[in-house]
Amino acid sequence: MKHRTVRGYIRYATSEGGESGREWFTITVHGNGHRTFRTMIEYDQLGMLRDVTHTCDERFRPLDAFVRQTKHDRFMGAMWFRFSEHLAEAEGYTAGEGRLSQRWPTTVWTPILCSHSLIADFWHAAAFDLDGPKRQEVRGRLSTSEHPLGDSGPRLCIGLEPNTIAETAIMEYGGEHRITVAAGTFDCIRVDVVRRQGPPVEFYTTRGDYLPILCKADFVGSRYELVELR
């Protein structure tokens, strides 16, 4: 097989240090630069189990995605998403809304799909131009849920303020850092996702692969840390 495979495990923690969720992922990086991650996420608080299969092109722009989720063991929804230069579309079924077909014309290829997996959150940083200004805006971001933790849908949507999931992502470069987490020590760049009010969400990631080393959302006491990488 020509592709490269990365497997890992992310721990979702509270400010008290307790574990509130976890994400297992497998990323394949293909010869043409396309990447797919498959991830399984458990949120203990919400009783939610989410599966995401998400593929992007060589510029990390979304090509297609699949999201399926259950809450307290009950089916919430399953949705397939597809992106092209002039269209973002989704087909699926949710317990709340029944059969859904969405077709949204777009003027440019959707730059970021927030699929409510931590990997997708880190892949935001790939849309940030490291040679550009310190603070940048990326317009046209779409989401698979209106809820900040994905506790709705799934469906194609524009996130609601004051969440960080607005249509325009504002990101700010925070320099280079050496970060030690349970999975090891990594040379990282810090890219913050700026919120309309309050402190930003801090992402520490690697150049190139944008691996999910560490994410801190201090304002809600959440910390997401890479525990295993193979």
């Binding site: 293909h30 299969t53 593929t55 699949f66 259950t70 089916f75 597809r82």
Partner: protein, 233 residues
Amino acid sequence: MRHRTIRGTISYQTKGEENAREWFTITVHGTGHRTFRAIVEYRDTGILRDVTHSVDERWRPLDCYVRQTRRGLFEGALWMRFTEHVAEAEGFTAEAGRIRQRFATERWTSILMNHSLLSDFWQFARYDFGGPRRQEVTRRLSTAVHPVGDSPPILYHATNPFGIWPTAVFEGAGEREVTVAAGTFRCRHMLSVRRQGPPVEFFTVPGDFPPVLCVADFVGQRYELLEWREGKP
């Protein structure tokens, strides 16, 4: 979380040499519903297939997603959904472009073969172990025309050119203790009967139907469970 989680790996072998591998995670829910996610990598054809497949408490397919690349290039992605009266699919393939399929069904699709070995084993959940030795299960659909999925994903309901039919014929062949890399299992020996030639042999355990061993001697193929573990890694 209330669900139970099982993780595992299967080795696909041709004449003793591994030619593919399947990694899977199964969750079993309080409702009796089950979902597996499988990644299947074929070294020979260069196919990489992702499958997310859910069944209800009677192991009938609820929905499924299949995405496939070949030597790094996209072949297709298809989402499928099943109810009492419809089997439908939405997707996109490199060959056919945007696909939309809707099949009216008289009853719920009983088996969806999605070209993961796990789904081949889950077929036997539709076999009545208290019933006659040879049984037919009708209303089987497939996600590819090719027998090992060596074609883009599509919801396929006809007899394919390789002898996989919409009606499955299964036969019980007794019990056997089988030892594979994952351990020793007291298995049911099940046969998937082909129209011509020897059957495909499956060794599994009713309940969770672990994919312990599958032997297709007529093509020199053997599929063996390498790992089967419950709980968090």
